[in-house]
Structures are given as C-alpha cells and as structure tokens.
Symmetry: C2
Subunit: 349 residues, 2 copies
C-alpha cells in the first residue's frame, strides 16, 4: 500500500481529471473510481441501529446450526472479505463447491453469487443460513426462532422494524445494510483518477493501459471493474472459458461447474459467470469460481488465454498484476460488535 | 445488566466495605471483587504493539491448517468468551472432548485448561494451534512458517520482539498479552463490594449468603470464585463428583473423563478438575467439563448434590442463580483488528 499521507495536497484537489494527468499517454476508457455510496433500495433504508444490528448478525455464529459459522467465517472483513480458500468450509467441516466472493464493495454488484442467482444483497444473505453445507440451519423459520429466543435481538429488531416478530427478511435487510457500509475507497487507482500522479507506479500505469488495449476492460469495466452499471437484479455475465481448448481448461478444471446454467437451465448459459470485481483482487487468492488458480499472475495468464486468446509476456503479466494491486482500497476501521447473550442457557443444540 | 450510572456517587467512594453495608446480615467470607490488573509475567511485559499483535493472532483463522478456525472461534470475545457448545468444534468439523472455558478473566487463573495442564496463558495459547482436532497445524514450526510468509506479521513481530525470526513463544506471548486485557470489571457483585447497596437485588443477596453457608465458597472463593490466590503454575483442583453415586453421575456422564489424571497419571488425580470461575458463568452454558448440563439452575442443583450432598429447594436454586448472574461483568469495547494480508496468493493450502 502506498503512503497516501505524502499525497495529501494533491488528494485535496479532489478533481476528476482524465488520465491525461498521468505521466503516460492513455487511450480513452471506461474505468471509474469507486463511487462514494452504493445504491440503497427504497425498501431498505439505512440507519445506524440497523447497520449495528446487521453487523452483530454478520458476526454471530449462532446463525449456523452448530454455532460455529458466521457470515464472517467465509467473508472475513478483517481480511479481503473472503476466506482465501479454494472452496469454502461450512459447518461441521462441510466443503462448498465454489470459492467465496469478497463482501467488500459487493453493494455495487447488481446481482450476487458467482452465478448471479440472488438479485440483491438481501436475497443473498438468506441463502447460506439455510444451506446444508454452509450454515446448515434446517430452515429460515428455525433461524428466526433462535434469534427470537435471544432477548437482545428481540429488542433490537423491535427498535429497528417495530413489531414483536422477527422475520427472515428483516434479518437479511439488516445484514445487507451492514454490507453496504463495507466499501474500500481511495485505492491508488482511485487516487490517480482524482489527479494524484504519484498514486500509481509506472508498472501499474502500463498495466492499466494494457488491460484496455488487449481487451480485458471489455468486461472488467465500471466502478467495480465488473461490468457496466445495470439495474439491480440484472447481471453482467460472460462465458469462461470463452475460447475452448486452452491448456488451462483441463489443468484447472474450468468447465466442470456450469455456472449460470445451474440457475436457468438454459443451454446458452452454460459456463457463464458473473464478471467478478477486480477491486481488492490482490487479497482474494486463490482465484476463479473453483479457486483452482493459486496466484494472481497465473490468473492473469489464464484469463488472457481463455478470454482473449493472448499469450502474455512476463512483463505484461507483471504490469497487469501491478495495476490490479493498485485496486486495493482502504479498509475502514470498525468497532467489534458485542453479540446479545442468552442467560443461563445456550441456544446451540 | 443494572444501570451503574445511577450508582455513580456510591461507586466513587471506592471503599472496600464488609458486606455489613448490604441490607441483609452477612457472615464473614472470602469473596473479593475483581482486581484491576492481572499478574503480568516478568518475561512477557505488556505493550500496546504486543497487545494489538496478539489480538490479530487471536482472530486470525490462518493459524489453523484449513484457515477456518481462530482462537476466537471457540473463545468468542464478542460473547461470553466461549462457544456455548457442549464440546468445541475444531477445523474440518472435528469434535473436541470438552466444553471450551471462557477466555474472559482467564488471566487471573494460576493454571489453564480444565485439567490445569498449562502453567500459563502463554503455554495454553500454544496447545490448540498444533492440536489435530482443534486448529490442526501439523507442527508449531509450520504455524510459524506460515506467519513468516505474511509480511505484515514479520514487520510487527520484529517491532515487538526484534530479530528476523518469529518463534512460537513470541506468538504465544502476544496472544497471552492480548488475553490479559480481556477483563470484565464492575459486575453488580463488584459494585456491591464497593458499597453500592442497590447493585445486587435481594434474591442475589440471599444467594450470596447461601453459597457461603452451604459451602460452595470452600472452593469457589477468591477474585474469580475459582480458588485462593496461588503461585502461577500451581492449580486449585477439586474432585467432581466428590460424593459418588448421585442420580446426576450417570445422567450427565460425569466420571468418564478422568480430568487431571490424564495429565499426571496419578490415581489420586482421577476426576480432579481445576475449579472453574463463576465470573460470567451466566453466559457460558452449557456447563461442566463435558457441557452435558444445559442450564445454570440444573448446574447449581448438580453441584449442591455431588459436592455437598445437599438437595436445594427451587427458591434456593433461583437465589443462587441470581447471585451467579450478579457476577456478569462489563465487557470492554474493542476495535476490530485488521489482519495483515498476503498479496496475490493465499497461505492456505
């Protein structure tokens, strides 16, 4: 991470220059700094009390059947927002089939999950709770019943939503509200976009040009480098691998999981995936939906070959990695939540 | 929890009164408020940098082989310092044999673990990391090697201890330093001891008398209600069940685990256990070494019968539970640690 204190004077300008301000000549492009705020659904307005409740729920392992897995277990906000595992491990050591996507900046995605099967953060939050290999609650009703048996939650839900009954939608809304605060602004790239010429080193600047000239930004565009702004619920998908038959396909078992097809059962959706974000990608190894690729430089090589049919030189790879590294943002300081307790008994079976 | 703002004037006196200040007549006893500071070993002085490093390690799941279990997984400081499970669940869903003791105030214990097999917090911290059913690292060497591969840790260890090599003892010292900050002062009992007559309700006051008159405090004495002050490394043990043949012995499988005997192999240590703390016991259900007793009121009944050969009335049980509830302290606000990251690769296999 660069020392942005040094760059304070230029940061203060806070202008939105074209990249002409950077040292190298740059083509026009569709890259954008991270917006200050994500879209907020009208039926789930933010409030401090709701965000705090959502944070407690996010960290509460009692949302899993065995009391051992919380949202944070696989989407660790003390790190890059995932678990750095190829496949996530749910309760009782059960192995999932995909690598956990990062929760950081997920509020800017128009659909959630690798296959876009959730139209919102609210919908996403409900999934793992009742998934047998994730948090393993037998039903949402049981999850809600358990929360109802914790007096502190009862009180907080009432304060946030009114009424005496907790619903799974309220649970999901609170978690989503908290997740909408998980933003990482001020990456070197963002600072460069605002005019700080020293924010990105020359290798990263070369990498930034490369991803545009060779075609990566055809898909990896927009504020998340995950596609154009689309209405909530409408996903931006791409086939992966696009070019069949590369050496990597078998090596990394890229086609076995059919991705979006599993959701729609349409043959044209076979091996389609939501275009993942580049933001903080330096921190979310291993890579791709199955987490089979261990390093970012190899991930860059694989993508160039399977999506663009290009074989990159080592320098090109390292420049692109350097650019991707410039997309690591600043992680906000957080307070540790205190979870509401149960007195004289446990709610874990 | 009581509102101690109301009681500020009497708190300010900060005298150490006899219980004559309370409404009820009370016999002399050996109960003490929680001291302000725990003992600090001369070879592990506290520092802000060491405590912060220790907090990061405490929350870091990468200290486990699969990257899924941190110290906090079983000793959750966002709750009562344990996992509210009868037996803890380690990495890959492996089940432990005992219920996790609370980390809160553990700095006051003269030995650690249910069977006292660790003479210090430092010694304790090393155990689970290389335990096959807990964090599952194949060796301490591998744990240290993994930490060495994380640049942020390398830097922090160097700043705290000097030198370029991380050792497992340094890891343990940092974790122990953090744990020595995990104290819960100002329980209603502590406030009562300092003269606040309203801090404990009358049922709790009756319970406090009862635990002394019937004999509980023969063992549950001292600042933790876990025995007299002993030199570090010297444990205070008691046989459990002391009186054989009660209905509870078979019902809750109390004698199968031989406790201290597993450490010493001495027959006189069979079914001996470190006397556990009463502090925050309201929050650490289920109860006893095997976590077979689900509620605190049943735990009180079991103890009265198996240790004192007494059958308590329902009122006696509820008064004692009320007293035990008055030992729930104030949990300090904490900041969430940010864990040092690895760039472009994962250290999890």
């Amino acid at each position: 991470m660069m020392n942005h204190k040094q760059n304070k004077p230029s940061l203060k300008k806070m202008i939105a220059p074209t990249l002409a301000l950077l040292a190298l000549p740059v083509i026009s492009f569709a890259l954008e700094p991270l917006p200050k705020n994500p879209p907020i659904p009208t039926d789930n307005p933010m409030s401090a009390a709701k965000i705090e409740l959502g944070k407690e729920l996010y960290f509460d392992p009692r949302l899993s059947k065995t009391g051992t897995v919380s949202c944070n277990s696989c989407h660790n906000v003390m790190l890059g927002g995932d678990d750095n595992r190829s496949a996530s491990m749910g309760h009782e050591g059960k192995l999932g089939g995909r690598s956990a996507p990062t929760v950081w900046n997920s509020a800017f995605h128009s659909v959630q999950f690798w296959d876009g099967r959730a139209a919102s953060l609210e919908e996403q939050a409900k999934g793992p709770i009742a998934n047998a290999i994730e948090m393993g609650m037998d039903s949402h009703e049981l999850a809600v019943k358990r929360l109802m048996s914790i007096p502190g939650y009862q009180k907080q839900f009432k304060a946030v939503y009114g009424g005496d009954k907790i619903t799974i939608d309220q649970v999901a809304k609170a978690i989503a509200a908290y997740e909408r605060t998980l933003l990482t602004p001020n990456s070197p790239f963002d600072r460069a976009m605002r005019g700080d010429k020293k924010a990105m080193n020359t290798s990263a600047q070369r990498g930034m040009q490369l991803v545009q000239t060779i075609g990566c930004t055809t898909c990896h565009m927009g504020p998340l480098f995950a596609g154009p702004a689309l209405p909530q619920g409408q996903g931006f998908y791409q086939k992966f691998p696009l070019i069949a038959g590369s050496q990597y396909e078998a090596q990394y078992d890229l086609t076995k999981d059919l991705g979006r097809f599993n959701v729609t059962q349409k043959s044209e959706d076979k091996n389609l995936w939501r275009v993942p974000t580049w933001r903080n990608v330096a921190l979310t190894a291993p890579y791709f939906h199955n987490g089979k690729v261990k390093t970012l430089d190899e991930a860059v090589r694989v993508m160039a070959k399977t999506q663009l049919n290009k074989t990159l030189t080592d320098t090109e790879v390292s420049d692109i990695v350097e650019f991707l590294n410039s997309l690591t943002g600043e992680f906000p300081k957080q307070s540790m939540p205190r979870l509401p307790e149960t007195k004289n008994h446990s709610v874990i079976e």
